[in-house]
């Protein structure tokens, strides 16, 4: 093992200076946290023939909200990104037009819903391109550096924060505005349905009766800074990414590669397994994901650490998931309060990890957030007081 503690000690600290969640549950971090504390979920049954021939459960913005997006004169996906960034900027002094500031955008499918709705638009290909949306959002706020777009399946949100951390530690930038969003369209829902991956009831992460995922839409943003004036805020201590090299749509059989990313994250952070106070797992409620994740958590000697999955509140929000769940984790650290795993009743994974079932007060210093996705990718990131 290389001595990565030295790496940590010479790198500037990266602080989380503002955050937002813009979801069907609420439009600020505070509103979201307050509501999920009360057990409120965004998941509802939907009848919408334009999206699916059959009824389906998902966490979606309601029709009034959808009308609201139109006022921005941009697509719904871009409006989500803009709304989330706008709210974070209220809480931080960011020199948006400064050359030390970068905008990082995370999404899996961006404007793909245009393929369902505006299939005949001659500029469709250009409008769907993620760099086009990135440019629209950057121009809206006046960012001068070219925005960076991460599109790496379901780990995109965590990868975007890790990328932001690295770009700040390299000294090239001082501030990173990291935002992610995805919307649920016929394209995405029909795809997961074709995989038989959609649960017929709201998803039940890590439960013995889990039968698949529930999708959700939303956005979230964090502002990262290396400016010492933010000392005392929550820090991003480390993060790592790995690949299973096993299967493009099924996770590792052993969990060894996710476990490797977790161990690397801890080493980079100068921490050991005993230092982790909370795990915010990916917990999609598919059979294979939850089983692999439990194995990885046990392999990393974290099986007794309280763990939760937030998919029962938000559904799987794809490119926004890593960001939404990171923001909730950060709030959990600040309030010393662990959110229970909605939908979970009885442990249904072969390694009995410690799934949190009740709102639990606990003095905490650190939280590990993990995710895995198609293409065999895994990511872990560590937040600390």
């Amino acid at each position: 093992m290389r001595n990565e503690n030295i790496y940590q000690s010479i790198m500037p600290a990266v602080y989380v200076v503002a955050d937002n969640i813009y979801s069907p549950i609420g439009t600020t971090t505070a509103q979201n946290f307050e509501r999920i504390k009360q057990g409120i979920s965004g998941i509802q049954k939907h009848k919408n023939k334009a999206v699916s021939d059959t009824d389906f459960y998902a966490s979606l913005f309601n029709y009034n909200e959808n009308d609201n997006f139109k006022k921005f004169n941009v697509s719904k996906f871009e409006a989500l990104l803009i709304a989330s960034v706008q709210d974070t900027l209220k809480d931080a002094e960011v020199e948006v037009a400064g050359d030390k500031t970068i905008l990082i955008i995370s999404s899996t499918k961006g404007n793909i819903s245009m393929m369902d709705i505006n299939a005949d638009d001659p500029h469709l290909q250009e409008k769907i391109a993620l760099h086009t949306s990135a440019k629209i959002v950057a121009r809206h706020f006046g960012f001068i550096n070219q925005p960076l777009v991460v599109s790496n399946a379901c780990i995109s949100g965590i990868m975007a924060i890790i990328t932001g951390m690295r770009l700040l530690q390299s000294g090239k930038y001082e501030t990173a505005v990291v935002v992610g969003a995805d919307e649920i369209s016929k394209f995405v829902l029909s795809g997961f349905q074709s995989f038989q991956a959609i649960s017929e009831v709201p998803c039940k992460p890590f439960d013995q009766n889990r039968t698949g995922i529930t999708l959700g839409e939303g956005a979230a943003a964090v502002i990262l800074s290396t400016n010492q004036k933010y000392a005392g805020r929550i820090k991003v201590l480390g993060g790592a990414v790995s690949n299973d090299a096993n299967h493009i749509s099924a996770p590792s059989r052993t969990g060894k590669e996710l476990s490797g990313a977790i161990e690397r994250t801890l080493a980079m952070s100068g921490l050991v397994a005993d230092d982790v106070d909370l795990i915010s797992a990916h917990g999609t409620a598919t059979n294979y994901n939850d089983e692999m994740e439990a194995k990885a958590i046990a392999l990393a000697n974290l099986d007794t650490v309280p763990a939760n999955s937030l998919k029962g509140y938000y559904g799987h929000t794809l490119g926004a998931a890593g960001l939404i769940e990171s923001v909730i984790s950060i709030q959990s650290l600040k309030q010393n309060l662990i959110i229970p795993t909605l939908g979970f009743e009885t442990i249904g994974v072969s390694d009995p990890i410690n799934i949190c079932t009740q709102l639990t007060p606990k003095r905490m210093k650190t939280c590990l957030k993990t995710a895995s996705g198609f293409g065999g990718c895994n990511a872990a990131i560590l937040f600390s007081k």
Partner: protein, 210 residues
């Protein structure tokens, strides 16, 4: 930070020609994209049945990697020390269109799985047992400066010991793949890992190797 790493191999697939270290090694002028990709596969004289079920983006990136790594000592590295940092302009739009056509009839899971650009990275990792850091970025145009800086940081901080990086883009009949193997030690025919050299190779200009 003044660190010197090296481009120890590079490959370009464009306009029906395969270039290795800027020299043409294979061409099939009259073929359309699927036929060209199949002919490159046959030229490699390898057997990998999974190749046939891949989408065009994965086939292109997979073939480019095969040529890139030919006669290199990539096997000396630990799987966790080998990473991929790839980019393009159109993500998986080429396959998104094909999948959407299937939705009108019966949505195809075999097509849906390729509607993410990093599936190509997954295919390359499965073939070569690469388990290190991977990342997929979307740019309007190839951003050599970003790639050079980001990959240099990953190597300098020992996240990786070697990295395959570059551009793989497909949309309808248009395609281009340019990949670089970046290593920490200088080898025969190596050139400095600089944005200017990435751009020169990307634009198919002659590199001064002295």
């Amino acid at each position: 930070m003044n660190i010197n790493y090296y481009i120890t191999s590079n490959v370009t697939l464009t306009n029906n020609v395969v270039y290795r270290r800027e020299r043409p090694v294979f061409e099939n002028r009259s073929a359309d994209l699927p036929a060209f990709l199949l002919s490159v596969y046959q030229y490699l004289e390898t057997s990998y049945p999974k190749f046939y079920k891949m989408d065009n983006l994965s086939k292109l990136g997979w073939l480019a990697t095969e040529v890139l790594l030919k006669d290199t000592d990539i096997k000396q590295y630990q799987p966790e020390d080998i990473g991929l940092v790839l980019s393009n302009a159109n993500a998986s739009l080429d396959s998104d269109q094909r999948y959407m056509q299937s939705v009108a009839d019966i949505p195809s899971p075999a097509l849906f799985v390729y509607t993410l650009p990093n599936i190509m990275i997954g295919e390359i990792c499965i073939r070569n047992n690469f388990k290190g850091e991977d990342a997929f970025f979307i740019f309007e145009k190839f951003d050599a400066r970003f790639i050079a800086q980001y990959v240099t940081d990953l190597l300098a901080s020992n996240v990786l010991q070697t990295c395959i990086c570059g551009w793989v883009d497909v949309l309808n009949d248009e395609y281009k793949a340019v990949l670089f193997l970046i290593e920490k030690t200088k080898k025969e025919q190596a050139i400095p890992f600089l944005a200017s050299n990435l751009n020169a190779i990307f634009d198919n200009l002659i590199i001064d190797k002295i």
